[in-house]
Amino acid sequence: MLRTFAMIGMLLAALLLTVGCGGKKNVPVADNNAAAVVPAPVEEVVEEAPVSETPAPATNYATMSPQEYGIEDVYFAYDEYTLSAATMTTLTANAKIMKEHGDVVYLIEGHCDERGTVEYNLALGEKRAAAVRDYLANLGVKAGQLRVTSYGEERPFVSGGTEAAWAKNRRAHFARP
């Protein structure tokens, strides 16, 4: 429940941030050398699923956040994408749940802490997500259930330049695609 509240808080914060950025000052017009630049069409953003505090009685796992029914994120050491013993234990438990819901697709998001370069962290995040996917597949989770992506250091769970914050951000997060 605490985690649910935390996630609602994060979503609200994200929403506020979005609203805050909405009043962006006018886009400058093209300067001397460039012709007018046509803004790209506005597209929807892939957001994490809204968390409903009281799930409907008829449980539909495909519309729930994986954390709501026991799927847990896993964490990594600095600049590492190897799986620790604790991570393997967590993934074994995750795999059991995933195999019980063989029609549910999971997006494994690789994340990094803020240290290091933007580009390398995107690659590192992908390696983390791929390592988790491969381990789950070895445990018998169907390949079609697992997708991977990387957000590098761009979507930290916790802000702040402390080891405690960094440790929480070096993770593979399970989301709905």
Binding site: L17, V27, V42, V45, G116, T117, E126, K127, A130, T149
Partner: protein, 429 residues
């Protein structure tokens, strides 16, 4: 007596401080320098800049002449190549040899065909030999561009090398997963937003002809490589592959990109046609291979690999063979870019929790630290066309903004302002 002791005690530090200030003087508030090197001992070209003579048009034409004069001076100073002389310094009977810029503005710039003629000249003194004369019809909004153009001709004539005064920097602005591609003139003017799609857009890269910008975007939900036409803003997708599409970089020929794709499960380096077809896969490894950058000849490229357990720089031939390790010091070396002059590589080196800029020759010799830890993290360096200036992102103020370093004399200028993070810059060529 006690006063003397106090004085003697502080004299050492004060002298040291004064020496330090003489070497690197903090910039005055009105210009963009953060650190300004003392260039008095450097080998510089002496030049006297005189504002264009105004023949008609009154106060507004005089203001236009003032703008031209100011931009020409700022451009010459920024180049790091010139010492700007004052009239007094050349007033004697036998003035030292130097160059001189003057001009004539025949009236008030109004735009369109009605604009009066402007002539700008470069002369050799003493003697007054005319080396360069350029005629312009600048509209009122083209004064800065006109001055930039003239200084570019001056630099090319006197150094036989490209200058930077017409160049621009593209970069990613924003935070979280809302980041757009922006563009700014090399002197911080002319800020322009190029994308607006409410997702993560990173790693913009100019084509060699400066007409297109390749970049990575999540605009269709996952990473993809896109190319934007600078003149129209039109965006097209280069190729669709799941997984990483990192750090597109142009081949010097302008007909292909080099990108890190994870087609095979982890990021490897591929040469891609502009229509997205794979020309050649350059690396085949279980490790991370990212951040490729071509040499100006197109014969080889530098990239990052963690095949030994930590990110290090490697150089390989254009066909992916002949891979050799470039960096052996430091446990985190990344974001390399090959100088347009071909002789050296700038990159980001992370040690003791801080990322700093480093310079190394292409054979691995003369590794040199370019920044210091007072600048906190310095990332994503990119060369100017002169092979002398480097733009990079630093969070010295707590938020990443762009700065320009003169790697020859250590001067640093601030390029972008404002509260939003600016990252992954690329300098036009």
């Amino acid at each position: 007596m006690s006063h003397d002791i106090t004085r003697r005690r502080i004299a050492g530090p004060v002298i040291a401080l004064l020496l330090l200030l003489a070497a690197v003087v903090p910039a005055a508030a009105q210009d963009e320098y953060i650190m300004r090197a003392d260039r008095s001992g450097a080998e510089l070209t002496d030049i006297l800049v005189q504002p264009p003579q105004v023949l008609a048009g009154g106060a507004e034409a005089r203001a236009a002449a003032g703008t031209l004069d100011a931009v020409i001076r700022a451009d010459l100073d920024y180049s790091g190549l010139f010492r700007l002389l004052t009239r007094d310094q050349v007033a004697g009977k036998a003035p030292p040899s130097h160059y001189r810029i003057d001009g004539v503005l025949e009236g008030l710039p109004t735009g369109g065909t009605a604009s009066p003629a402007l002539t700008l000249r470069l002369l050799s003194e003493p003697g007054g030999q005319e080396l360069l004369a350029k005629r312009y019809q600048p509209g009122p909004d083209r004064l800065r561009a006109t001055a930039h153009h003239f200084v570019e001709q001056v630099v090319r004539m006197l150094t036989d090398q490209p200058g930077i005064s017409l160049s621009r920097v593209v970069f990613s602005r924003g935070s979280g997963d809302r980041r757009d591609i922006w563009c700014v003139d090399y002197d911080g003017e002319g800020l322009l937003r190029l994308t607006s799609n409410r997702t993560l857009n990173l790693f913009p890269s100019w084509s060699p002809d400066n007409k297109q910008i390749a970049f990575m975007s999540f605009r269709q939900g996952q990473q993809g490589t896109y190319v934007l036409e600078a003149a129209t803003g039109t965006v097209r997708m280069v190729g669709e592959t799941s997984g990483s599409n990192l750090g597109p970089s142009w081949h010097p020929g302008g007909q292909e990109l080099v990108v890190a794709l994870s087609k095979a499960g982890q990021p490897d380096i591929y040469r891609l046609g502009l229509d997205g077809h794979v020309i050649r896969r350059l690396t085949v490894a279980e490790s991370i291979e990212v951040s490729p950058s071509w040499s100006p000849s197109g014969r080889d490229l530098v990239f990052t690999s963690d095949r030994t357990g930590s990110p290090q720089l490697y150089v390989m031939d254009a066909d992916g063979t002949g891979s050799r390790r470039l960096t052996f010091e430091g446990k985190y070396n990344d974001s390399a870019e090959w100088s347009p002059r071909g002789d050296r590589i700038v990159y980001a080196c992370r040690e003791q929790e801080i990322t700093q800029l480093m310079l190394i020759e292409t054979g691995g010799e003369n590794r040199r630290l370019l920044t210091d830890t007072s600048w906190r993290n310095c990332e994503d360096p990119s060369w100017a066309p002169d092979g002398r200036h480097v733009v990079f992102a630093s969070d010295r103020t707590g938020v990443f903004k762009l700065y320009v370093l003169d790697v020859e004399d250590g001067s640093i200028r601030q390029l972008t302002k404002g509260g939003e993070p600016d990252t992954t810059p690329d300098w036009s060529q």
